[in-house]
Structures are given as C-alpha cells and as structure tokens.
C-alpha cells in the first residue's frame, strides 16, 4: 500500500492555478532568482588556492606545545591517552634532568582514529596538548597517519591565539 502524503493524496494536494499550469512563466520566475544571485557577493571559496583561516575556537588536529627553549611542555602523565575515546594517543614516559622530571620519549597520535573531540586538551594539566587550526589531513598509507613528536611539536608562538582563547574560556 502506498503511503499517503498530502502530495499524493488528491483530496489534500493544492490545485494549480491556470497561471501555474502555463509552465513558462514559472520557469522565467526561477531563472530570475538564479540571475539575481549572480550579482550578489559569493560564498564559494576556491579551496586549494584560497584557504580558510579558522577562528581560535576551532578544533583542528591536536598538537604539542613547544616552549621557547625547544622542549615540549608535556610531562607524559598519560591523562590524554586515558581520556581519549578512540584510544588514538600513545605516550611513553622517561626521566629527564630538567625540573619537570618526566618527559615523553614517544608521543604518538593516530590521526586516522582521532575524532577531534578535544578531550585531550581539556584534561591536560599542563596545557601541553591543544587543538590547532590545522584541518588538512590526508595520507597515502595508514602508517603515515600516526604522528610522532616530530609532527606534533609546534612552537608556542604559533599557538598563541588558541592559548589566549583557552585562558579566556577558563576564567
């Protein structure tokens, strides 16, 4: 049995007027709408040439904050790894002579698993892992999707906008 809606139910469907039945005027009305939009400001972006600069609140790929002395803030506590819903983060800690005592020897995020939820940023006690503005991620091989410290470490200066945003939101 066909499911009855107001469109296939002749008793409910609106009857077309003579003007509408003529068809051509309605086509012209549609074309007017189309041409009107040709002269309006464009929303389309010519993507590869023209890139979008995300606002500070955007959650792009998670990165590790590198301090000015070239050392990561991370103390390898493993809370990001614990909270990560898809188990994308692996941290292996070791001892350092620095004041922070502990640092990550291995810090890997499997970007094929990452769901950009931002829990890692929220749980981090050191504000060491934060969400960046970067959203372009494509790989030719699954193993390329595992980002190590080399790809994750980003100088603090480049992340200032997000750090300011976090400071603002936390207060």
């Amino acid at each position: 049995m066909q499911y009855r809606t107001k469109y296939n139910n002749p008793s409910v469907a609106r009857k077309l007027t003579l003007w509408e039945k003529l068809y051509i005027p309605e086509v012209i009305r549609g074309m007017i709408t189309t041409f009107k939009h040709l002269f309006r400001p464009k929303f389309t972006r010519q993507y590869p040439e023209e890139r979008w600069d995300a606002p500070a609140s955007f959650r792009g790929r998670p990165v590790l904050v590198m301090e000015d002395n070239g050392v990561e803030r991370c103390v390898a506590c493993g809370l990001c790894s614990r909270v990560c819903p898809p188990l994308a983060i692996e941290v292996r800690a070791s001892e350092t002579e620095l004041l922070k005592e502990r640092y990550p020897v291995v810090f890997e995020i499997n970007m094929l698993r990452c769901i950009f939820c931002g829990y890692c940023e929220e749980v981090c006690p050191e504000e060491a892992i934060i969400m960046s503005k970067e959203y372009e991620l494509s790989f030719r091989d699954p193993s390329e999707g595992i980002f190590g410290k080399d790809k994750l470490l980003v100088p603090k200066a480049e992340l200032q906008e997000r750090l300011d945003y976090l400071a603002k939101m936390r207060n």
Binding site: A76, G78, E95, E101
Partner: protein, 586 residues
C-alpha cells in the same frame, strides 16, 4: 572473649587487639596511612580517627586497644570531620604532582582525598619545597615534598630489613627522611618500602616513569627467582612486563619480596628471546624451522642411540608438568626411572626470603621423579660410582642430549664436556650460550607466558598464571587479565600485533618428540598433565588447579596422608652434595 561494637555491628575480638585490627578482620575499612599489619604501630598519621563512646576526644584506631563493651563509631559526624581535618592538614604541603607521580592511580592519599576530604583547601600560602630526587639507596629514590611522614619505610628498615639506616630529620613541616650517608639503604629487601609507601615519595629506579598504573594489567603469579616462590603480581603493559610486586601470602612470603626476584626475573621475558625453533643445517648453521620438522629430527636422532648413550635433562626452572612429560618419555622409550636436573645454587640462604637455590621448582621436579644432579648414577645404576652430569659427560658415553631448559651451559667446564656430544637438542626461551651450541632449539614459553605448578622448598604447591600473551596464548580467549587497552583496543593496535612470541610450553615439544617416536600422547592443556600427575604422584593427591588457587596448598605428605617424605630427603641430600662438589654449581 571481649565483644565490641563497630558501627552498630557487634564483633567478637581477642584481648589485646586494637580497634583497626578488629575492623580489618571484619571487613570494615578504617582509612589509615601509617598503620601496616606487618609493622609496629606508630600512630603518627592520625588518619584512623574514630569516635569511641565515653571518651572525650577522637581516638586513633590503630593504637587504641579494645575493651569489652566498647562502642566505636567510624561514620559519626565528629569522626568524619576529624578525618577531613587530618586530610586537609596532610595536603597543606603535598605538591600537586599527581600527573608525574608513579603512585597516581594506586595512591592512598589520592583515594582518601576523594573519599575523606572536603575537596577544598583554605591554604593559600606558598608550599614548602624540599629535595625531589634523593637516592636513599641503589634502588630507591626519595621525593621529600610528597612524603607525609608516616614512617612506614623507617619501621620497615628497622624491623623487617634489620638495617636501621633511615630516620627523620628536622622538625615540624620541614621534617624529611634521610638515609645513613655511609651505608645508604642498600639491602636485598629495600624495594619493599616502595610498595608500602602510601604516597609516591619512594619510587623505584627500575620502574620510574615506565608506565601508568591504570594502563597495566596485573596477573597473580609466582616469582621464579629462587626456591622460595614468593607470590607476586605481574604488571603488564603493551604485552611487556613492566614490574613485579609482592602479593600477600602468609604461608610463603608475607607481604614482601626480595630485590633479586623483583629485578632479575622479568627482563629475560622481555628481552633476548629466540624467535622460533632453530635447526642446524648441513653446514652447521642454525636455520629457522618449524616445531614439527625439529621434533622429527630429534626423534630420529634419539632413536639412533642406545639408552645408555642418551641423556635426558629435566629442569628445576620449569614447572612440574614439563619435568613429568620428559620423565614419561624417559620411562616409555628408554626404560629409565629417573632423569637428572642440574641445580643452580649460588651464595647462602638469606635471613628472609631469598634462598641459595635459585631455581623455583627443585622440590617439584624431585617429587615427580627427577633427581638433582649428583644422584643420577647413584639411583640409576647401583654398580657405578656416583657421578654428576659433568662426570658422566666426561666419561664420553653420552652421545645425545635432550634438555627441556636452555640455561645450564654457562659453566665453561660443562660446555667443554659437551664437545663429545654428537647431537644436542634443547628447549629454551632465551638466546643463550646453550642455544648456540645446540643442534635443535625449540622456542619455549618463559615463566610469565604459561600455566604451571611450582613446589617451593617448604612444599607449598603454587600456580603460575600466564601474564604475557604469545602467538598461542591469547588474552581474550584464554581468560588472561586484560588492561583497559587490551579490552578496548582493536586487533590493529601495536600491543595486539607485535611482541607476541612464537613460543609454547616445553612439554608440548616433549609430546611432539614422543609422538614422533611412536607414542600417542594427547594433552590439550597443561592442566591435563597436572591431572595425570595428581593420579600418579602421591604428594599431589587430591589437588587441582582450582584447589591450588591463588595462595597454593601444601604437598599431601605434609598432612601425613602419605608417609613417604623420601623425595625431600633425597633433594636435600643431593643439594648438600652439589654444594660440596662445587664444579656443577651454575
């Protein structure tokens, strides 16, 4: 017998007990830091405050002896407030170190801060700063800021380790712990203070920062470091052993284990493993092969020689099941009633725990019918003089050797005596000197990768449980303990793919060889072999893996069911003899 009431429950108690003892025995948890059942009472953390009726102030449960008719309230308002105040006080100078602290996840202070604290501090001043990385001894590091001055480690050093080198110095909130600068806290029990430290003030140099507690799975097992067989828990992460910690068994080791067992028994499971069965080709170079081909070769070689030219070697490092399987092969195919195993005796018995005999199952191997080296010829042929394995090899009668463990050729004399052996097959889990000499090497499971039964020197039958997954032992299927990562990870995760060794129990290799020689053995699991042992060997009468359980049980002879403690005497006698011979001590 005095009766006391705790939280409305009337409890039977014994005179002289303290409130916390009675409460713990009856499953009532009174929060505490400094009290430990195996140490004397210090009463300095003040965490176990309870309200005792008819006393004007709150009392500490750890140091208050019970009296008949005493009424204790642990949940009344004054008691709860008192504990909250104590927590606030302890947290005044405790740093917010949890992210980098190894204790996080198993920390008493962390747990109690959640359960028994207001969650807020009124303290706004700068916290006290103390030294954060002070070595107390070769294995133990001390973090002064984290210490809550419970004195458990000081009491342990004095009472249990009997090396009173730790003490408090300074006063008030500047109090800290130091070790004697000349001696240091250096003894074979030192790492137990890390376990009993209620906070993360004492950390292990070996384990420091290796893994978070919540990422590990813990499996109850037995330490294979000496014939004591301490009960342990094996901490695993990414299918590698990260640390061992003691498990309370009052019959065997109490709350403790020694540093030797803790540090030296797990690295061989993680490192230097052989990757699969090996067989020498025509040129004498070891090539990878499979178990079936290797077993065919061994069976072929074993059949070539007469029974006097064959030497089958048991091992006290392997569970009773493997020794039993090899002995069964010796009986069925070579008509031998006993096979020797080489003992590993180093140093002296220590006052606590560590034994001179560094093998976990010497008594177990003896019980199923193996004989500690030295009695081989004595038992086997009455006419010949007593000969050790070494003397036997030097007599050049032995042409083929099949051993179930590959760890005995460390001794250069024994290696030299092996020159006349025409064919040598061994089972081994590690790449050792023995393996390099062997014509056929079977890759076998290490102690942490398998089931099995060890019998310690006092006759306690205890059970190994698999903690590390292999290609043949899978976490999900074989009911092994699983960490969060194991449970929720996918088959594509690193820890699920890599690191799984191609290793099986040694008795399976013996079974393969036997079946290639015409036997028809069919054991599916190590437990099947144990069930057979139970029927054959009176000392294991009525036992099963279930009855042994987590805490073990004594051999039947101890209960007087079977009045033939002959094996134990044989073992002790042979041990003494080996010590006097000296040359075969490895």
């Amino acid at each position: 017998m005095p009766k006391i009431t705790i939280d409305g429950r009337e409890l039977e108690a014994q005179a002289g007990q303290t409130i916390i003892q009675v409460a713990t025995e009856n499953g009532i948890d009174i929060p505490h830091f400094c009290w430990h059942p195996a140490l004397t009472v210090a009463g300095n953390c003040r965490m176990c405050l309870v309200e005792v009726e008819k006393t004007p102030k709150l009392q500490i449960a750890c140091a208050t002896p019970i009296a008949d008719g005493m009424v204790v309230k642990t949940l009344s308002e004054p008691a709860v407030t008192g504990r909250e105040d104590v927590m606030e006080f302890l947290l005044i100078n405790h740093p917010l170190d949890c992210p980098i602290c190894d204790e996080a996840g198993q920390c008493k202070l962390q747990d109690y801060a959640f359960e028994h604290s207001r969650g807020e501090s009124r303290f706004v001043e700068e916290k006290n700063h103390k030294d954060k990385r002070v070595p107390l001894g070769p294995q133990v590091l001390f973090d002064g800021e984290r210490c809550i001055s419970c004195s458990r480690c000081i009491r342990f050093a004095t009472e249990i380790a009997e090396q009173p080198v730790l003490t408090f110095v300074h006063r008030g909130d500047h109090v800290t712990i130091v070790a004697d600068p000349d001696m240091g806290f250096d003894n074979n029990m030192s790492m137990n203070v890390i376990d009993i430290c209620p906070v993360g003030a004492l950390t292990s140099r070996d384990f420091r920062f290796k893994a978070r507690v919540w990422d590990m799975s813990f499996t109850d097992s037995i330490c294979p470091g000496c014939s004591r067989g301490c009960n342990i828990r094996v901490g695993i992460r990414n299918n590698e052993i990260e640390r061992l910690e003691p498990r309370n068994n009052p019959n065997v080791n109490g709350y403790w284990m020694c540093d030797h067992g803790r540090l030296s028994t797990y690295p061989p499971v993680n490192e230097a493993r052989i990757e699969g069965p090996l067989m020498k080709d025509a040129k004498g170079i070891q090539q990878h092969t499979d178990n079936d081909a290797a077993a065919r070769k061994v069976a072929e070689e074993l059949s070539k020689y007469s029974k006097d030219e064959v030497l089958l070697l048991g091992s006290a490092r392997l569970p009773v099941e493997d020794n039993y399987a090899l002995l069964k092969l010796a009986k069925e195919k070579f008509g031998k009633q006993h096979i020797p195993f080489i003992t590993h005796i180093e140093g002296q018995d220590e006052r606590l725990l560590l034994r001179a005999d560094k093998t976990p199952n010497a008594l177990g191997a003896t019980l199923v019918g193996c004989v500690a080296d030295g009695h081989y010829q004595h038992v086997h042929g009455e006419n010949e003089a007593k000969k050790t394995v070494l003397e036997l090899l030097r007599s050049r009668k032995i042409k083929v050797v099949f051993s179930i463990a590959g760890d005995f050729l460390k001794d250069p004399q024994l290696l030299e005596a092996f020159e006349d052996v025409e064919f040598f097959a061994t089972c081994s889990s590690n790449d050792t000197v023995t393996c390099r000499r062997a014509d056929v090497v079977f890759s076998t499971s290490a102690w942490a990768e398998r089931d099995g039964v060890f019998v310690n020197f006092e006759g306690w039958v205890q059970q190994l449980r698999p903690a590390v997954a292999t290609k043949y032992f899978m976490r999900g299927i074989d009911h092994m303990h699983m960490s969060r990562l194991d449970r929720f990870g996918s088959p594509f995760d690193k820890w699920a793919r890599g690191n799984k060794r191609n290793a099986r129990e040694a008795w399976r290799m013996v079974e393969l060889v036997a079946n290639n020689m015409g036997a028809r053995w069919k054991y599916l699991h190590t437990e099947d072999l144990f069930d057979e042992i139970v029927k054959m060997v009176p000392d294991f009468k009525g036992m099963s893996y279930d009855s042994i359980g987590r805490l073990g049980q004594p051999i039947a002879t101890k209960h007087g069911e079977v009045k033939e403690p002959i094996y134990k005497e044989v073992y002790q006698e042979s041990t003494e003899r080996i010590e006097s011979v000296g040359s075969v001590i490895l």
